[in-house]
């Protein structure tokens, strides 16, 4: 072969199939197809179907009956249980989200002090996150039991030895105590997650910022307040959004430990969807609750995204 003919043989030598053509990517789509079909069949179609379903009255057995907006108007006007459910869910959001962030940050800051055996502590605090929620909830159920639980036993014992009139609260049977019990379980379960994320963020804060603050005479608290806190604020924002959505969808904890009781004190929105659809066989009403939940989450996330400009500090790039 001579030099003059070089360009043409190249074209011939590389097969049509192997040649990379940036504008032809169907092979990539082919590889995406399995997961795309999975997404379509198990997510996209059911989501659309549930929207349609929310306008019907359907108990699975008889044909669906179109009722327009009745499922929604019933929910908003004369469903007393739904009001209670909303209150409970907001209670869980305003308690669980801030506490979880606070605990996570506290643990992360503590572990970030150059402790020996950091990995061990990180493992211990992360363990609850990977523990099955059903097993955890059953253990906590026993833990909280007033007559035979270990927590109560300790308090009874304390009362007996000191002679003080101290009795353990009836955690899971008293509506005022059942909500805190669920909060405690959730904190135990999830704080390890926020801790790990915070720990990663803390380790990314440049040491020179602290050195500069020290030179300027900042106290320990001031270094936390004016260096650490702004530097991890993008992480705080991320965790806040994630944890809020998680709190909106609280279900397993209440389902296993309290069955939504006592007296509906721990009945959450998602639990109510389950009850409506699968216990009372009202699929349409359940779907309507699910869409109301979606709207709530959507609005709250939107508001948070807007508000973040006021307090979230991005070190590079600046724009959110």
């Amino acid at each position: 072969m001579t030099a003059q003919t070089a360009p043409a043989p190249q074209h011939i030598a590389v097969s049509r199939w192997r040649r990379y053509r940036p504008d032809q990517q169907w092979e990539a789509y082919l590889f995406l197809l399995p997961s795309f079909i999975g997404f379509l069949v198990f997510v996209a179609i059911p989501v659309v179907a549930s929207l349609a379903l929310s306008f019907y009255d359907w108990n699975l057995l008889s044909p669906p009956e179109f009722v327009g907006f009745e499922n929604y108007s019933q929910l908003l006007t004369n469903d007393r249980v739904f009001r209670k459910v909303l209150f409970n869910t907001f209670y869980f959001i305003v308690t669980i989200v801030p506490l979880q962030l606070a605990f996570g940050l506290l643990l992360a800051v503590a572990l970030n002090q150059g402790l020996r055996g950091l990995e061990i502590y990180r493992l211990i605090y992360f363990m609850p996150v990977v523990t099955t929620i059903v097993a955890a909830a059953l253990v906590f159920q026993w833990f909280f039991n007033r007559d035979f639980g270990i927590l109560a036993a300790a308090i009874w014992e304390f009362g007996a030895t000191t002679g003080l009139p101290i009795q353990p609260p009836d955690w899971l049977n008293d509506p005022d105590w059942a909500k805190p019990a669920v909060v405690i379980l959730t904190l135990w379960k999830n704080s390890g997650f926020t801790m790990v994320i915070y720990l990663a963020a803390l380790q990314g804060v440049p040491a020179e910022l602290y050195d500069a603050a020290k030179v300027d005479g900042a106290s320990g608290w001031q270094r936390f307040r004016f260096v650490t806190f702004p530097m991890v604020s993008p992480t705080t924002f991320f965790l806040m959004v994630i944890q809020m959505i998680g709190a909106f969808q609280l279900f397993s904890e209440a389902f296993v430990m309290t069955q939504g009781g006592p007296a509906q004190a721990t009945l959450t929105i998602v639990y109510y969807i389950y009850q409506m659809a699968f216990e009372f066989q009202r699929m349409g009403r359940g779907a309507a609750v699910a869409w109301v939940l979606f709207i709530f989450i959507f609005i709250f996330t939107l508001v948070q995204t807007r508000l973040q400009r006021r307090w979230v500090h991005y070190e590079t790039g600046g724009e959110s």
């Binding site: 053509r21 504008d23 032809q24 169907w26 789509y29 197809l33 079909i37 379509l40 108990n59 699975l60 057995l61 008889s62 004369n78 007393r80 249980v81 159920q141 026993w142 909280f144 039991n145 007033r146 007559d147 035979f148 109560a152 009874w156 014992e157 009362g159 007996a160 009795q167 009836d170 899971l172 049977n173 008293d174 509506p175 009781g261 006592p262 007296a263 509906q264 009850q275 699968f278 216990e279 009372f280 066989q281 009202r282």
Partner: protein, 447 residues
């Protein structure tokens, strides 16, 4: 060049569309019978699909029932479809929603019957009962009501879930109190409970006299002559605020306040009535026959008695139990009825289930046969089951579709509040009735 690329991207789209269409078609296409060879075979067997929920042990009993039937009837094959309780109802409803008679089981275990009968998915059994002369009088009084809808029988209850009083003989002996008997009233129960309860100095209760699941609380109301609703089929109002109900609930609220009666929620968190009874944390429980096999295999020293009633009251154990039904979609109704009626006969399924020790049979002739009365197993006083059975009452649940919502959304949460002591008995029952009455009005009751 441009053109070729465009064509190729078009063919990619076509490929995707094709693939998706193929998938959809594959998903929708009816599954062809795997084997059509039966057409040619001389002795064609009819296959009846038989669905139920149950633990592995219970499914093993069901299988032995199916085997016994197939031994007697070589022309019918029984195929079992068993699912755990949690998934069973969703699965069955989904199968029915498909409307395909080849996938819907022919004979099924269901509860409550009225929810399904009202949707037309169950076969009306009246014509079959009449044609075959099947003896419906053998059922406990008012038990068959449980399987009825608008005056017709749609389901044949397998067992009767009536309750008796279980008591721990060792604890009674230790405390030195007499065993319960037919003459006991609530006052006797209360007096004995005081002796059986153990409260430590700290105030901790280490032994309660009595335990019962919260869901059974209407037993007390009915023993006193009350009801949950004025009519359990087509209610016009809630009856829980009536004086009988208030007095009955007040009695047990007092039992809880005196630490004689273990708060139901507390009991379920401690593992349920069987667990606290076996561990001796509770001396007596009120429960149906389902606990017998567990207590026997644990080797407990226990016996049963009829449940104490108020001095001016009546026995009111629950006449109800899950029932066998036939799908109205079944392609083999003749064979399905043959199996169903065999299943619900003393010589057939009832005897096998009774011998397994899991149930109190729905048929009086089975219950009064040696298979139940002289099984050689504890409890000794099996007559208690017979006495409660002869006086069993319907009405522990509502026989209409919306009842599960009334119960789940209003009655149970309200009951929790009363038994915990959040509200007074009268106020709590009034609050329940206010909500139930509003619900009934909103949903067009009475119909």
């Amino acid at each position: 060049m441009q053109n070729r690329q465009w064509q190729s991207s078009l063919s990619f789209k076509a490929l995707i569309v094709l693939a998706l269409t193929a998938m959809l078609l594959a998903a929708c296409a009816p599954i062809a019978p795997a084997d059509d060879g039966g057409m040619a075979a001389m002795d064609e067997k009819v296959t009846i699909t038989w669905a139920m929920w149950g633990s592995p042990a219970e499914v093993a009993t069901h299988q032995s029932v199916a085997d016994a039937f197939m031994e007697e009837n070589s022309d019918i094959a029984i195929e079992i479809l068993a699912e755990p309780w949690g998934d069973y109802f969703t699965k069955i409803q989904t199968l029915w929603a498909s409307g395909d008679s080849s996938v819907v089981p022919d004979v099924l275990f269901l509860s409550p019957i009225v929810n399904y009968a009202s949707e037309g998915v169950l076969e009306n059994l009246d014509p079959w009962i009449e044609a075959s002369g099947y003896d419906v009088d053998d059922y406990w009084p008012s038990l068959l009501q449980y399987g009825m809808y608008e005056g017709s029988v749609y389901g044949l209850p397998r067992d009767i879930g009536l309750e008796v009083l279980y008591y721990n003989i060792d604890i009674f002996d230790e405390v030195g109190v007499p065993y319960p008997d037919d003459t006991w009233t609530w006052d006797d129960l209360k007096a004995v409970s005081e002796l059986l309860t153990v409260v430590e100095d700290s105030g901790r209760v280490s032994r309660y006299a009595l335990g019962m699941e919260g869901g059974k609380w209407l037993l007390w109301v009915m023993q006193k002559g009350g009801m949950a609703l004025d009519d359990m089929r087509n209610p016009s109002r809630c009856a829980l605020a009536d004086p009988e109900a208030v007095e009955a609930v007040q009695f047990f609220r007092d039992m809880i306040d005196s630490n004689y009666f273990m708060p139901p929620a507390n009991m379920s968190q401690a593992g349920g009535d069987a667990a606290v009874f076996q561990s001796g944390q509770v001396a007596m429980i009120i429960q149906n026959a389902s606990r017998v096999s567990a207590f026997n295999s644990a080797g407990m020293n226990y016996d049963v008695s009829v449940i104490p009633i108020p001095a001016d009251g009546q026995r009111a154990s629950a006449a109800g139990g899950a029932a066998w039904v036939m799908s109205s979609l079944s392609d083999n109704k003749e064979e399905a009825w043959e199996f169903l009626s065999w299943l619900q006969s003393t010589d057939g399924g009832q005897r096998i289930y009774t011998a397994s020790g899991e149930i109190l049979p729905a048929l009086q002739s089975t219950a009064k046969s040696d298979a139940f009365l002289n099984s050689g197993q504890p409890p000794t006083n099996r007559q208690a089951f017979i006495t409660e059975g002869e006086n069993a009452r319907m009405g522990r649940i509502g026989y209409f579709v919306e009842y599960s919502e009334i119960n789940g959304s209003f009655v149970n949460p309200g009951r929790d509040q009363i038994l915990i002591g959040e509200v007074s008995v009268a106020d709590g029952l009034n609050a329940i009735c206010e909500q139930v009455d509003a619900f009934l009005a909103d949903n067009g009751f009475p119909k």
